[in-house]
């Protein structure tokens, strides 16, 4: 079983990890530096967008779901969709009360 596992396993180079790390740090710096700028109501959206990009990098590379079997991607989507649905449905109460 372990042999099988190894064969399927995509080896990610040290360099790739460093690049991902560098991007994560840069995005952190970016989000801090534009936090002072007054974007008004979209400031939160921008901050969350950057966080989403960062988490995308972590999930795809550090957690290497990008290189995993399709079933893991489906699982992940199911979990995310669930979370999303909870937020949307609760919003109907929060926004319209």
């Amino acid at each position: 079983m372990t042999d099988n596992h190894n064969k399927e396993h995509h080896l990610i180079g040290y360099g790739t990890y460093f690049m991902i790390w560098l991007s994560l740090i840069s995005l952190t710096v970016l989000t801090v530096s534009i936090a002072g700028v007054n974007f008004g109501s979209i400031a939160l959206l921008i901050a969350l967008l950057i966080a989403a990009i960062k988490s995308g990098l972590v999930i795809n590379y550090f957690m290497h779901i990008k290189f995993d079997d399709i079933i893991f991607k489906i699982f992940f989507l199911v979990a995310m969709a669930t979370l999303f649905a909870i937020f949307v449905l609760t919003s109907f109460d929060i926004f319209f009360r």
Binding site: H5, H9, Y17, W21, L48, D68, A79
Partner: protein, 215 residues
């Protein structure tokens, strides 16, 4: 475990022993499913945060000014870097570089502890200012600010708890590595520990802008 049965043909190896089969993909699947539960656990908190931030927009801005942006940012970088060293440790053991893998784990633990130390200073500074759960100063604040600190302490507190659990897990992995329980051909334990650690990082990626970057 299995008793000999005469006249029974051999079954596929991975099914041969019911209680000791090794299935790396299965183990990883179990880990991911567990991570989803963690995501939804924090998801509930984020949902509360969303509701309260909408309700108390101004109070949240005022209360967030008390937080130390510098410490929050340093902690973000510390945690991101620890995620890197964790990933590198797995990459090293995949290439059969045991020593490098061990050192990378040690560095990961060091970063995790650094995160906790910074967190400690951050929290003690708040407590010195009289802002802690149930304190008279806090209870005299407007409702929105009480809620902000309620969310702040519970979310970062729960996250810190996960960091501590992560440290314990990584220390176990360290022992397994040293004792060759984790090898180039069987490193699923380390991989799963890595997944857990990255999740801790992932949650912080969202906590950071939601608490430290409110203007």
């Amino acid at each position: 475990m299995s008793k000999p049965n005469e006249g029974v043909e051999k079954v596929p190896l991975h099914l041969a022993d019911p209680h000791h089969h090794k299935d790396a993909i299965g183990a990883k699947m179990g880990m991911w499913l567990f991570l989803f539960t963690e995501l939804l656990l924090f998801g509930g908190l984020f949902l509360l945060y969303m509701a309260y931030r909408l309700q108390y927009t101004q109070d949240f801005v005022i209360a967030a000014k008390e937080l130390n942006l510098m410490m929050g940012t340093i902690n973000t970088i510390v945690l991101l870097t620890s995620s890197l060293t964790m990933a590198l440790s797995i990459a090293a053991i995949q290439r059969n570089k045991k020593t490098l893998a061990i050192w990378m784990l040690v560095v990961t633990v060091a970063f995790a502890l650094a995160f906790m130390v910074i967190k400690y200073f951050e929290w003690t500074a708040k407590i010195h200012h009289g802002i802690y759960p149930g304190s008279p100063d806090l209870l005299n604040m407007p409702n929105g600010e009480i809620i902000f600190y309620g969310m702040y302490y519970s979310m970062t507190g729960l996250h810190a708890l996960h960091v501590i659990i992560g440290v314990v897990i990584i220390l176990f992995m360290l022992v397994f590595l040293i004792r060759d329980k984790i090898t180039q051909h069987d490193y699923i334990k380390l991989e799963n520990a890595g997944l857990y650690w990255h999740l801790v990082d992932l949650i912080w990626i969202f906590l950071y802008p939601l608490f430290y970057l409110i203007h």
